[in-house]
Amino acid sequence: MMWNAAMEKRILRTFDWPLLLTGLLIPLLGLGVLYSAGYNPDNNLRMLFGLIDSPASPAFSKQATFLLLSLVVMAFAMALPPTFLHRVSYVLYGGGVILLILVLLFGTVVNGSRRWLDLGAFNLQPAELMKIGAIMALARYISKYPPSNDGYSFTQVLLPLSIVLVPMALIMRQPDLGTALVIGGVGALMILFVGVELKVLVSGVVLAVAAAVPAWMFLLHDYQRRRVLTLFDPAADPQGSGYHILQSIIAVGSGSFAGKGYLQGTQSQLAFLPEHTTDFIFSVLAEEWGFIGCASVLILYAFLLYRILRVAAKSKDLYSSMMVTGIASLLFVHAVVNVGMVIGLLPVVGIPLKLFSYGGSSLVSTFFCLGLVLGVSMRRFQYLRGAR
């Protein structure tokens, strides 16, 4: 397609500015909280090419750098036409599965899990790639074989389900329960979005409950079982598995209405949580900014999700809609599971709060997804001409 002045004007007018600004505001707030979480007056971090000395942690400057890189990645993702994405969906998915097999065979072990592929120059976490691959493959499948008005039947739902079950099983083997559940959750939400027959839904719930018992007995590791039990009674073992969740709840609760003030969170600053820059960053926010801070950030997330779903609704082709829906599901699952874990509603599964937690590759992949959404949004008036 050719660029011309009229198109540029239209793109500027129709560009989803609220989505982009919300998507930028959340990681900027996250940086602010990360600054506090890693704050140490003894740090003498050289920042801005040595122009200033700052008491921030190296994580802060790394995250800031990755945020800049993310913008480039986002612009790149925006430029990818949906037809191209549609074409490479299964390739990406297949590549992701192969990488997951490779990681099980040759991956580097960190903290007892085999999650990373050492590619010399950098480490690749195939599971991160798999999330996007699974979303795109499922989107392609659903757009090709959409359900009837009643939704998918038993036999119809098996194939789309297996698209997520294969990577889930591979990721469970690493083991990385959190990411496996995220992919399962995203797949389930996408399928539910287009609809299943009522009896499928009911039997799915029954099956899930029934499967929970043998899964509990055979699939879960000891430490995972403990984490779930902890949820019901964190005080039972305050020095052991319940320690983190208990301390996190104290941190969140002690924030009260308006918080303890920036950089003044005693709970979070004292290294009582080993993951207070990643999985537990929300408790830093909660402690220092209180209910007001938490509610503001959650509302921003809700607004972002709403804007993304709006793009899905307005897109004229089903593939783009489903891909965007999958991305919304991904952000949603991460937000609900992470915050739920931090405030003691869900077991500790160790997944980060997308856009907010410290972590370069997670940030970059999320902005890639936001770029895809913005790309779909931009092209909603020329979807048919876009196809060659």
Partner: protein
Amino acid sequence: MATKLEKSSFNLGRRVTLATGVIILSFTVLLGRLWHLQILNGAEFRQKSEHNRLRPVFIPPSRGLMLDRNGKPLVKNRPAYSVELVPEDAPDPALTLHRLSRLIDEEPGKLDERLRDTRKRRKFEPRLLLRDVSRDVVAKVSSRKFDLPGVMINVTPTRYYLYGSLGAHTLGYIREITKEQLELPQFRGYKPGDVVGQFGLEARWEEFLQGVRGSQLVIVNASGARIGEYSYEPERPGHDVTLTLDLPTQQAADAALEGKRGAIVALQPKTGEVLALVSSPKFDPNMFSGDVPADVWKELRSGSGKILNNRAVQGVYPPGSVFKIFSALAAIDQKVISPQERITCRGGLPFGGRVFGCHKREGHGPVNLYDAIVQSCDVYFYVVGQRLGVDRIHDYAVRFGLGKQTGIKLVDEASGLMPSTAWKKKYYRDPANQKWHPGETLSVVIGQGAVTVTPLQIASSIAAVVNGGKVMRPQLVKKISSADGGFLDDDFPPEEIAHAAVDESVLKLITDAMVGVVNDPKGTGKRVRMERFPSITVGGKTGTAQVVALGAAKHEHLEDHAWFVGYAPAENPEIVAVALVENGGGGGANAAPLVKQVFEAYFLSTRGAPEQQIVSAEGAKASTSG
């Protein structure tokens, strides 16, 4: 391949509305839980967070000791009490500080200032208010503990220099790390407030002496009292450093320089091990454990006395006649003169339109090599210098280590200057000044003119002369051992850095003359002889270096520098010692007696008892008849 994407066939808008509902519902559940935790139970959790909290406590490691060569401690640690404040535990810090100031008669503003300096730190971190306070203050503060919320007494190991100012320049001192140092790679892992070696051996061996800080996460309650322990990482004490210094020899050198400006260095010629290294005026490193008053600090840093200057290794002086040893070596080895050839000294030598005088105005008469060294005749060396030329003198002096750093591991060492025609070309940019004048050679050959040396260089180079030409690296550390007794670096073997290829017979001629300097009736260095050890023969050389008057230099600074370098026993030297007294006058009268004091202390400590007891000064005179 069909690339046309499928159009939506069903109502997405309805589904999006439904999904939005799910999102709102889920987030409402999350917000509900947050409301429950933060609003309904916020106060309870706030209290819990204050009651049940972890506080990092750093356990400073005890710094490694420094011992003399026989294992006698020179530097130890002692407990020091400091007064600290945890702002979080003080409801009204200003009031607490006010009460504390009143209690211990401290200027009220000073403590506030201390607190202001640490404003950036977090509220639960203790702030240092007073360092190394007396037991009296500790007792006062402890008894009024309940009136002083947030104030605590902390005990930390502090450096203790057992002999005060003894060898202060060598041992060095420790002091709080500076902002600039925190930026340096070698101080990675240090925190503001850490004390580090800032000078001397304390600085040079910091990485071994420091040890590793331990840390502890303790669970404390609202009033800061410890109610449990969460994690504990034990500290590791620093390594002990055994020095080559010999305490009695060091003490004698220190006493000899009392009230003078100058330096004394004593070392073992065969190993390069330094037995004593003293610079005067000196300071007491113990004062750095407390707060150093600004005026004292200023005087130390930039006062006219240059107290922190380690004159033994950083001070550069013209060597004067001590340098004649190297001129003589060059002359004989290069055969520009035979040992027997006599040159007549008439008290001066006319050269280039002026007269170069000898220190003995009436002249020494005809002198050969031996006489010239023993009586330190300048005219003899003027003649020798003309025959040699400056570059050959330079060559021999450099072979023995002059004009460059000795490589002692202590502080930034001065390299001194050994001039040559090449040096002059390099040093002066104006071609008119680049030419070497023969008259300058006459100054250089007697250790004047542009020649400068450090006392350590003289000790080290003369040690090489009496050690068959082997130039040994001066060493201050014998071994470094970890506190549990395991050796890290069990010894520092003698290191030969150069071998001055000079014929043995030539060296013998020179050392014979040096024995004459001390033992010949006409010798200039008789005052180094040890009455208490008559059987130990001493050799040496005096030096009286003229101080060049620069412009409006003060009168007292025009007095000559007194030098003496000696070694003993002459036949098998165990010790070489050099004494320099700034503006001390003649070397034979003012520096040789100091070297004698050092020698006597050394032989007393190694031989056990003096050969002859000297009861009093008068008795000494009577007993020297034999």
